[in-house]
C-alpha cells in the first residue's frame, strides 16, 4: 500500500503552487494579453508576432529569473537561519548585498563612464558579484581567526562589514553626477528588469549546485540545531558544516543580488512560513523553501507588473505588502 508522508504532500503542494505561479507569471504582465494569446505564442507558429515577442523574449526570461532568484533567496535565508540559529537571519544580513551594491554603484557611477568601457549589464553584474565575494571573504576571515568559525563573531563582523560597504555606497553616490546617481539608486532597488538569459543561466547553475550541496548538509543542520557540542557528539564535523553552510548561503545570495539587485523579504519570510507549516527538519525545509521562494517571487513580480498597467511597481513593494500579512497570519496560527 502506498503511504504518503507529510513531506511528499508538502513537496507536491509546493510544486503545484510553483506551477500555478509560473502560469500566472506568463499570463500577467505589463501588456494586456489573453491567456489564449500567451498559449498561441508558444504553440502557434503563425501567432501575432508582437505577442510572441512579449511572451518569449520578455516574460519567459523574467519568469525564469524570478524562479531562480526566489529559490536562491529562500535557500540562502533557510541556511543562514540554521547556521546562525537566529530567526532574524536573512541573505543580506552579513554584508553580501552591501558588498554587491557597492560593486554595482561603483560600476554605474565610475567604471562605465571611463573611456573605452562599454556601459552594460554585464560589467555591472560582474562587479556586483565581485563586491559580494569580497564582503563574504572579509567577514569569513574576521570570524575564523582562531581556526574555527564563531557564529556570534560572524554576525558582528557581517553587520559591521555591511555598514562599511553601505557607507561606501553613500559616499560614491554623494560624489556622483545626477544621472549616474539615479541609475545607481534604481539598481539597489531590486528588479527582474535586467535579467538576461546569460544572467539567468549563471544564477540557475549556482542555485542548483547550492541546492544539491544543501541537501547533503540537511541532516547535519538538524544536528546543529541541538547545539554545536551535541552535533559534534552525533558525529557531525561541526566546523566543516558551518563553513560549507556559510559559503553556500553567501555565494547563492551574491549570485542573486548580482542578477536582480536587493529584493527583500523572500529570504526572511519563506523559510519561516515553511517551518511553521511543515516543521523544522531541514530535509523538508530546504526543498520546500526552494520551491516556495520561487513561487513567491514569481507571483509578486506578476502582480507588480500587471496591477497598474502599463505602469509597473517595484517588486520589493509587493513582496512586503503581501508577505507581511500572510506571515503574521501564519505566526498567529502557529502559536495558538
Amino acid at each position: 500500500m502506498l503511504t504518503v508522508t507529510p513531506r511528499t504532500m508538502g513537496l507536491l503542494a509546493m510544486a503545484g503552487l510553483l506551477s500555478v505561479a509560473i502560469m500566472a507569471g506568463l499570463v500577467l504582465g505589463a501588456a494586456p494579453l489573453s491567456p489564449s494569446a500567451v498559449l498561441d505564442a508558444f504553440l502557434d507558429p503563425g501567432a501575432d508576432p508582437t505577442s510572441t515577442r512579449i511572451v518569449r523574449d520578455i516574460r519567459l526570461p523574467r519568469v525564469a529569473a524570478g524562479v531562480f532568484t526566489g529559490a536562491a533567496l529562500a535557500l540562502s535565508g533557510a541556511l543562514f537561519q540554521a547556521l546562525l540559529r537566529n530567526p532574524l537571519a536573512e541573505p543580506y544580513l552579513l554584508g553580501v548585498s552591501s558588498g554587491a551594491a557597492f560593486g554595482a554603484v561603483l560600476s554605474l557611477t565610475v567604471v562605465t563612464t571611463l573611456p573605452g568601457v562599454i556601459a552594460g549589464t554585464a560589467v555591472t553584474t560582474a562587479l556586483a558579484l565581485l563586491g559580494g565575494l569580497v564582503a563574504i571573504g572579509v567577514v569569513f576571515r574576521v570570524a575564523s581567526v582562531v581556526g574555527r568559525v564563531d557564529t556570534r563573531v560572524l554576525i558582528l563582523a557581517g553587520v559591521v562589514v555591511s555598514a562599511f560597504f553601505g557607507a561606501g555606497v553613500m559616499l560614491v553616490l554623494a560624489l556622483s553626477r545626477g544621472d549616474a546617481f539615479r541609475s545607481a539608486v534604481l539598481w539597489t532597488m531590486g528588479s527582474l528588469n535586467r535579467a538576461t538569459w546569460t544572467g539567468v543561466a549563471m544564477l540557475a547553475v549556482c542555485t542548483l549546485a547550492a541546492a544539491f550541496i544543501s541537501f547533503g548538509l540537511a541532516r547535519h543542520l538538524n544536528a546543529l540545531a541541538l547545539g554545536e557540542e551535541a552535533a559534534g557528539h552525533l558525529g557531525t564535523d561541526v566546523e566543516r558544516v558551518k563553513r560549507s553552510t556559510y559559503f553556500v548561503a553567501s555565494l547563492v545570495a551574491a549570485a542573486s543580488v548580482s542578477v536582480a539587485g536587493v529584493i527583500g523579504f523572500i529570504g526572511l519570510v519563506v523559510p519561516h512560513a515553511v517551518r511553521m507549516i511543515w516543521g523544522t527538519d531541514h530535509r523538508t525545509l530546504i526543498p520546500l523553501s526552494l520551491l516556495g521562494g520561487a513561487a513567491a517571487l514569481v507571483v509578486a513580480d506578476a502582480i507588480a507588473q500587471s496591477v497598474v498597467r502599463p505602469l509597473v511597481l517595484p517588486v520589493g513593494v509587493i513582496t512586503a505588502i503581501l508577505g507581511v500579512p500572510l506571515f503574521l497570519i501564519l505566526l498567529r496560527r502557529s502559536h495558538v
Binding site: 563612464t113 545626477g178 541609475s183 502599463p310
Partner: protein, 312 residues
C-alpha cells in the same frame, strides 16, 4: 602612560584643526541681514539661478549680466559659462548660494527645494520658485522672470517668438503622417514621458504622437512589455553632448530587441541637453524632434535667440 600619550596626541590634533576651521570660517562671507518684507524693493542686481532653463531665459531677456550664480549644468548660452558655478540645482548648497550674496534666488518649485526656499525666505533673501512641467509653465516663467528683472517688454517679445518658432515647426510638418513615438527617458526601469510633460506637447507639435500620452505622470515608469505591445514606430533616444555623459543606446540592450522599432533600427538620437531644457530654445528642440521623426521634411533653421540688453 600609553593612554596619556594618546590624549596628548589627540589634543595636538585639536590644536591643528582649530586654526584651519577659523580660516575657513573667515573666508566665508556673512549672510546679508537686510530683510525684504514684500519681494525685492528694486530690481535685483545679483541673481542666482538654480534652474538651467531660467539662466537661458535671463540671458535671452538681456539680463544675463546680473547673474552671479548658475548650476553646474547651466552653461548655455556660452556666456553663462563665465557665471560662477554654485553646484547642483535640485539639491543646492545653502552656504554656496548665500556666499554669492544674492538679491534674488531662482529655484525649482517642489519638495526637493522646499527646505532651502524656507531658509532663504527666513534670511530675507527673495526667491522665485518656478514650475517646470508644461509649455504653459514656460510662458508663465518667462513672464515672471521678465517682471522680476524689470524686462516685461522683452519677456512678451520672447514669449511671442517662442510661439512663432513652434508654429513654424508645426506648419513644416503639417501635411505629414503622424509618427507613433516612444521617448526613451531612462532604460532600467524603462521610463518615458506622459501627458504631464512638456515633451509630450513637443512630440505632438513635431508631428508625432506619444504612445504613452494617455498617462498623466510627467515621467512614468512603464513595463518593457507595454512598450512592445504599443509598438512605437520610432524610439527617440536623447543623448547628452557633455563629455562625461552616460549613454546606453537601445540597440545595445539585449531585452530591447523585442521592441519592433529597435530590432528594425528605427532609433533616432536627439540632443538631450537641448530637449531637456524648457527654455528659449524650445523651438529649436521641437525642430530637432521634427527632423528625427520626419527625416525627409524641410524645416528651415530658426532665427538665433536674441540677446538684447534690457536695462531696468
Amino acid at each position: 602612560m600609553a593612554s596619556e600619550t594618546r590624549q596628548t596626541i589627540r589634543a595636538d590634533r585639536a590644536r591643528l584643526i582649530l586654526p584651519v576651521l577659523c580660516v575657513l570660517a573667515m573666508s566665508c562671507r556673512a549672510p546679508r541681514t537686510e530683510t525684504y518684507t514684500d519681494g525685492p524693493a528694486s530690481t535685483p542686481r545679483r541673481i542666482v539661478s538654480l534652474i538651467p532653463a531660467a539662466t537661458e531665459i535671463l540671458f535671452a531677456l538681456g539680463a544675463g549680466d546680473r547673474l552671479v550664480g548658475r548650476t553646474r549644468w547651466g552653461v548655455h548660452p556660452p556666456e553663462a559659462a563665465a557665471v560662477p558655478d554654485v553646484g547642483d540645482g535640485v539639491r543646492p548648497s545653502l552656504e554656496v548660494v548665500i556666499a554669492r550674496d544674492p538679491e534674488l534666488v531662482i529655484l525649482f518649485e517642489g519638495q526637493d527645494t522646499e527646505g532651502i526656499a524656507g531658509r532663504l525666505g527666513d534670511m530675507g533673501i527673495p526667491i522665485l520658485s518656478l514650475r517646470h512641467n508644461s509649455l504653459a509653465d514656460l510662458h508663465r516663467n518667462v513672464a515672471l522672470l521678465g517682471e522680476a528683472v524689470g524686462c516685461s517688454g522683452a519677456a512678451q517679445a520672447l514669449s511671442r517668438r517662442i510661439e512663432e518658432d513652434l508654429r513654424d515647426v508645426s506648419q513644416a510638418v503639417a501635411g505629414l503622417e503622424r509618427r507613433r513615438v516612444y521617448y526613451d527617458v531612462w532604460t532600467d526601469p524603462p521610463m518615458t514621458i506622459g501627458r504631464g510633460s512638456y515633451l509630450d506637447s513637443l512630440v505632438t507639435i513635431a508631428g508625432g504622437r506619444n504612445v504613452f500620452g494617455d498617462l498623466e505622470a510627467p515621467s512614468p515608469e512603464v513595463g518593457l512589455e507595454a512598450i512592445v505591445h504599443r509598438d512605437p514606430e520610432i524610439i527617440v533616444h536623447p543623448v547628452s553632448r557633455a563629455p562625461d555623459a552616460f549613454d546606453d543606446p537601445p540597440e545595445k540592450r539585449a531585452a530591447w530587441q523585442a521592441v519592433g522599432a529597435v530590432s528594425a533600427g528605427r532609433v533616432a538620437v536627439v540632443d538631450a541637453d537641448l530637449l531637456g531644457r524648457l527654455g528659449p530654445r524650445v523651438g529649436a528642440a521641437t525642430r530637432e524632434l521634427a527632423l528625427a521623426l520626419h527625416p525627409t521634411a524641410r524645416i528651415d533653421p530658426l532665427p538665433a535667440v536674441g540677446n538684447d540688453r534690457c536695462s531696468p
